[in-house]
Symmetry: C3
Subunit: 501 residues, 3 copies
């Protein structure tokens, strides 16, 4: 079989190089490909031409890593100090990444005579981008799978929501969610667990080939468990194979996961003044410049501007350092679990235990698990970092006014969750609902809406001073109020009906 | 009156040609207009200048059909083999289309001395584009009016939803929907019935003129009933008078009708990785090229890429043939009626009868009306065609993994509809709701939400492996679960209250 | 302190001019800055570089007002006939606006040796743009704060929705909304009241400075109460400091406030044929031209085209005059309060009293407060003005057909509100709800949804003949119907339970 594959490979390379002579010539004259990558492209410019063309637009396709090392510090897009010899003199092509650490990868297979790994993991990207990989490994995003699936409270919510329901004898029975459904619901963003089950044969237009049989593949979730034991997927934000910084800096990338009703970051941005200016004028801005010049390269921020990018003033003063720890500039966590709270100290939030012994950053009554959360001075430090971004365009008074307002919003939305939780606890106490699973009855689901949809919407809208509809009528205060009233009336009504029996 | 009109026409032509001398000169020097079209433009560059300017940007305005015939097969945008003599040597202007088949058109009238038809129908476009018109006539889109309005089950849903409600003596009485409301609700997409009631006089800035009095006009719904007896409207996707292939290929066109909550194709696309890349980089792509080169002209697909367009690889290999039968590459119908099912064999779905005698592709318990649906081998053939598009950028393993996941989603969402239907049937059986009209009581409307909004959302999101929010919290599994629970509790509660009387 | 500030100012100017030598040189060689503005930029190109860069892209930064006066009437962007001497020979820089009327401004302070006002109000912009300021002062937008906050009915809705709720002894107690929450909910669009409470010290990277302490700042709501006693904020639509007409003409600006679920103007536009063409092709249009040529500068309208802009045909005929009274081309008010009705005569709607003595344009049963609303002949006049815009691209028959359909929609959606109100009144009469506050109980909130969300959605979709989903399933007729049925069943159910006690 291997011999056959090898012959097939040779045949294809020869025939395709002639078929794609023009393309191949264009490639080889401009860029220095490794011999292995040349082979890859020989077939794949025919088999999956879109990938090859996309890669040709990438910086990888025209950059010699050895040259990239020599750039000035602020302009560097590579953070390694040194590189393996073999990587310096060829552009970053198919083979350079897909053969990076084949000995560590359970998804390694022999393909057309070469040992290749299917998945390229953050640990592989780390060869050239170690600072980014290290920063990322400290973030909650890196632990996105684990933080969700290994937290028994959250897992109960996952299982309750996504499990198939059978109707049986007057009752609804919830099955365990299927891997396929988890794959495209929660784990679509959080990342799947990629397990190599063995090899399988697939039919291609080149004939049958053997490839690793990987569960829950394809997936680019940001906290994916990779076959080399590493966590994460750089491709969540830097889509293959253009790896464009422009794409990562545009808000559409973030919008794939940070979307209403639970995390309406994109929706709020789109309706904010910043988003309005971006939508109106962004086509004329420079999304590829490194460092990124405030006012010169862009006139209004995108998500990346405030949260990640290396920002400088037009005269070159650094306004904010680049970070791939996506919480590094954040002092509070807007996202209610079930209350907004100071950011966790660690990316791995499964270690948290609150006073009630639950793995939650706050108790049901709102008391923070302070030992696991950053303290006031660290909050102040981070607020100063974020404010430094605002100061790129706004005065101190303006910026402070904005963040004071946000502080009030966190206080008030948390207080609304307190009120709703008190109402729910009363229903539990009166036997109108069963607290065993806090997510599976209607009045519990009304409670979830309060913090997961409505309070979160208001907080994101407040944080960006935008989208007054998300604070008002679209999952905002109107909904908080309406839903609380409905919860109250439902409980009263249930009492009236069931207690009068 | 006619004499007056003629004089008016002459006067206007003379005066406007001088008024618009610059414009007219610009037009006539570049393009070869028929004498009749020249007359049209003489007035209309003043009366409705926007139309004329829009048309000037069109390929119609600069193409001699006789020359278009000579193009190489893959590059041809005209599919006729021969053309009527009068059409070959002039560009495709106002008169060429609006006089095409005046004898067949009940909306034909004499305007400024010429016999013109108000509406240009697919049968008129067919003169130059017969292959596209024929393909279209096999699609469900072509029958979009008939499939909705001549199916008694669907019509009940239409009438229940859109009919005006009067409150009378403690009851709600539903009137028959008005034509105007149907026009802008269901028939906004499905198309209206254009009936010519006679002539009427309208005041214009040129004075009063007589024009055909057409019901439910204007409308560009895709399954419109035209005054020449034909079905459909090419202008649904190719808006007048630029007829730009760029517009038709961009996802905004599809988004006009394929929108949440019932058909969230656009919403899902927008949040998908493909949509993200399109939004970020699409401004640099070529949406006008024929054939359309994967990887070269675009780096990520839009709706048209996967469903319609003639796709080739950069070296010219055909990856998919062009089709204007919009279901031709589809093996399943995601849209739940009330279950997802294999695509119908024919565009006209009114012929379908399921085992219960209803004109639905499945029974209420989920059994497909197999005689009217494509069989497994045809499903396989179409899956292969669609996979051929995916292979433009993705490997076999990746593509297969994606479609296996979709298959599971169809199975699970169908199972959720089974559970919900069982619950509803139980309520009907117990007399807690009246099945005469299955759409008009609250618990029935909760049942509709399950398949029409929530299951559909999950399926579209699965089909594009995108928009995890549409599988999760935004009309996804959360809503399926929450709504099913509410339905159960509502039924139990009703039983408790009404049976304890 | 002032002395210290002055020295600081001098020091900074000197040091920054050298730091930003390149930038400063670039600025001064191209444009004629006033000496004061030069000083501002000296520091602020370092302190808030984004603002300075943004301003550099503005027309203000390269226009000498004295020259602008000389333009031909249709091309003029300035509407003053004469200008104060000091403004003619320098471009419009920081100092020109922020020192405009310092004696009238309670937010005036001394900053780096200059008396400056923090806020630039419409009364300041009026110096060069008096016609626009005057038109604006006749609009409902100008009174957006007052119309909401000084109308006791609307204020009840505001307070009920946005006040913090405490759960206390089985009851929900609603507090008065905080200023911060009002600021980012209703007043995010309507505008806040800017009160100067005194001075405060803020820490900046230049050291501590004293600035006015302004409540509810920052805010750019369109009806803001300014510290000079004027109303409004031009920056709501013309964001600082680029003041780009392109931004104001693009629909994203309007989308910040005119958003679903209450005012889905943007959402409907986006899904309409006009919106589709704009999204597909708008990148190639000219959004900066004055006057704005239909068909030549743009091929499909944005919000500004129909509602505001000075429109001409390609040959220069005026199709519509510019207006900054945003209701001037409107004959009906789509927005239901609680019924759609003829536009109010005045921008200040607090003067209205209906037959029931309430400050509403209609009674609860739908009778208009005719004395305060424009009459039929004024309606006709305005319909003719708006139709004039449509005629830019559409014939009379088409345009009329469109508006006849809209008329029917207003009638039918109003009738739906009548039915719902009758149902609510019945519930009030039977003691199933308490009419004291018509917004705080569940069945009242269901009633609000009918007119505020669902009827409005249908009307906006009808007005743009677009977005059939907003007339159908997305806050459209489906929702009107479903919610009315739920209201009926809830009332019946409550009667059954509470009356059987």
């Amino acid at each position: 079989m291997k011999l056959f594959q090898h012959s097939l490979s040779l045949f294809i390379v020869l025939s395709l190089f002639s078929l794609n002579a023009v393309l191949a010539a264009e490639i080889t004259s401009d860029i220095t490909l490794s011999p292995q990558t040349k082979t890859c492209i020989g077939c794949h410019s025919n088999v999956t031409p879109g990938i090859v063309q996309d890669w040709l637009t990438s910086r990888h396709a025209r950059t010699l890593p050895g040259e990239a090392l020599k750039k000035l510090s602020l302009e560097k897009r590579i953070s390694a100090d040194t590189l393996p010899e073999g990587l310096r003199k060829y552009v970053v092509g198919c083979y350079e990444c897909h053969s990076r650490n084949v000995d560590n990868h359970k998804d390694t297979f022999t393909h057309m005579g070469h040992r290749l790994q299917v998945v390229v993991s953050p640990n592989d990207c780390k060869t050239c981008h170690p600072v980014e990989a290290d920063q990322f490994s400290g973030s909650k995003k890196y632990y996105a799978y684990k933080n969700l699936m290994e937290n028994p409270v959250y897992l109960t919510l996952v299982n309750t929501s996504t499990g198939l329901k059978r109707f049986d004898n007057g009752k609804i029975l919830t099955e365990k969610p299927s891997d396929a459904t988890l794959h495209e619901t929660c784990l679509g963003c959080h990342g799947t667990m990629l397990l190599v089950k063995g090899m399988k044969t697939v039919a291609t237009k080149m004939g049958d080939i053997e490839v690793p049989d990987i569960t829950s593949w394809p997936n680019q979730g940001v906290g994916r468990l990779n076959p080399d034991g590493s966590l994460g997927a750089c491709t969540a934000c830097h889509p293959r194979h253009g790896f464009s910084i422009e794409v990562a800096r545009k808000p559409y990338t973030c919008s794939q996961c940070h979307h209403e009703p639970d995390v309406p970051a994109w929706n709020v941005y789109e309706e904010s003044k910043h988003g309005n200016i971006y939508s109106s004028k962004g086509k004329d801005w420079n999304f590829n410049a490194v460092p990124w010049k405030v006012g010169e390269d862009m006139k209004a921020p995108t998500c990346a501007t405030c949260h990640n990018s290396l920002l400088v003033s037009p005269s070159g003063t650094v306004l904010a350092e680049r970070t791939h720890n996506f919480g590094a500039r954040l002092w509070v966590r807007l996202f209610g679990l079930i209350y907004s709270h100071p950011q966790p100290k660690l990316g791995d939030t499964t270690v948290i235990k609150n006073k009630d012994g639950l793995p939650l950053p706050v108790t049901f009554t709102g008391e923070p698990a302070a030992d696991y959360l950053i303290d006031a001075s660290e909050q102040e430090r981070r607020l100063a970092v974020m404010s430094g971004v605002c100061y790129g365009c706004h005065g101190t008074n303006w910026t402070n006014g904005h963040f004071v307002k946000l502080g009030n919003t966190l206080k008030e939305t948390n207080a609304m969750t307190v009120s709703t939780t008190q109402l729910l606890v009363r229903a539990w106490d009166k036997g109108l609902a069963d607290k065993t699973n806090p997510f599976d009855e209607s009045i519990e689901q009304m409670w979830v809406r309060q913090w997961l949809f409505y309070s979160n919407s208001i907080r994101y809208a407040s944080a960006m001073t935008g989208a007054p509809d998300y604070t008002s009528f679209k999952n905002g205060w109107w909904d908080l109020t309406e839903n609380l009233q409905k919860l109250l009336e439902t409980i009263e009504f249930k009492k009236e009906v069931y207690e009068s029996d």
